[in-house]
């Protein structure tokens, strides 16, 4: 009877671990959970809630994130949404609004930006606000940076024109850092409000 209880306990623990690992790998990425309890520090032409990239068949919700405990821009708490970094300007304002999304999940299945590298200069990107406003951006440049050399300060300082920068991971896996060794950044300029 004691053995039965031990086996039952072990089985339940294993089942719980199995479920937790599966959910964490495919659905929930808690590192990036950043509750949107901080108001955007800059004027907000729009409060982004959705992003659409027709050429890549992307139509995703936009979460609002801050900085995580590692000092990095937060990412969506799942693999299907995009996140807007609240420390950057809001989309449509002068400056670069930074948005990011996962390239894949813990099982290497496609994340929202799996095919971001396929985007081309001139492609259309639309960002929608809660109030129904929709901004139209056009891709002007696509750059691949080593992950330690992404010009985040430049992005945040640049305020010549309203832009967005879409960021995702690319390259080879760095096991020690648990990250890919490059970041793909797609810059897009406001085409029309």
């Amino acid at each position: 009877m004691t053995t039965n209880k031990a086996v039952l306990a072990a089985t339940l623990v294993s089942a719980a671990l199995f479920g937790a690992i599966l959910v964490h790998a495919t659905v929930y990425a808690p590192d990036d959970y950043a509750p949107p309890n901080v108001a955007a520090a800059t004027s907000s032409p729009i409060d982004p809630v959705r992003i659409s990239i027709p050429s890549l068949s992307i139509d995703a919700a936009v979460q609002h994130v801050g900085i995580n405990t590692k000092g990095n821009v937060g990412t969506p708490n799942n693999f299907t949404d995009v996140a807007w970094y609240q420390g950057s300007v809001a989309p449509g304002a002068l400056g670069t609004a930074i948005l990011d999304g996962h390239v894949d999940n813990g099982l290497q299945l496609a994340g929202v930006f799996k095919h971001l590298a396929d985007i081309t200069v001139g492609s259309d990107i639309y960002i929608s606000a809660k109030n129904g406003t929709r901004l139209h951006f056009k891709v002007r440049d696509i750059v691949n940076y080593p992950y330690t050399a992404v010009p985040m300060a430049d992005m945040l300082a640049q305020d010549l024109r309203p832009e967005i920068a879409l960021i995702t991971c690319e390259g080879a896996w760095v096991a020690g850092e648990k990250t890919y060794d490059h970041r793909l950044v797609v810059y897009a300029t406001l085409a029309s409000p």
Binding site: N4, V7, V13, D32, V38, T69, I167, V174
Partner: protein
Amino acid sequence: MMKLDWKKAGAAVAISSALLGGSVAFAQTSTTTDTTTTGTTAGAPNTGAGGDATTTLLMLGITGVAVLGGVTYLARKSLA
């Protein structure tokens, strides 16, 4: 028959114990504190988890086998 059940039970317990004592390779594990301010220079976001896929699959396999072993053992015991 009984001897085989004991082996399965032992394996299930051993695997579960190892899992409890070991580390589970989650893709991303830290929590987030939202301290955004204008002009804060943050590091680049970590937007991929696929590099851990092998480890994740291995952990899923081990825990899955442990669950199956445990369920099989308990089912046989209840039918005996």
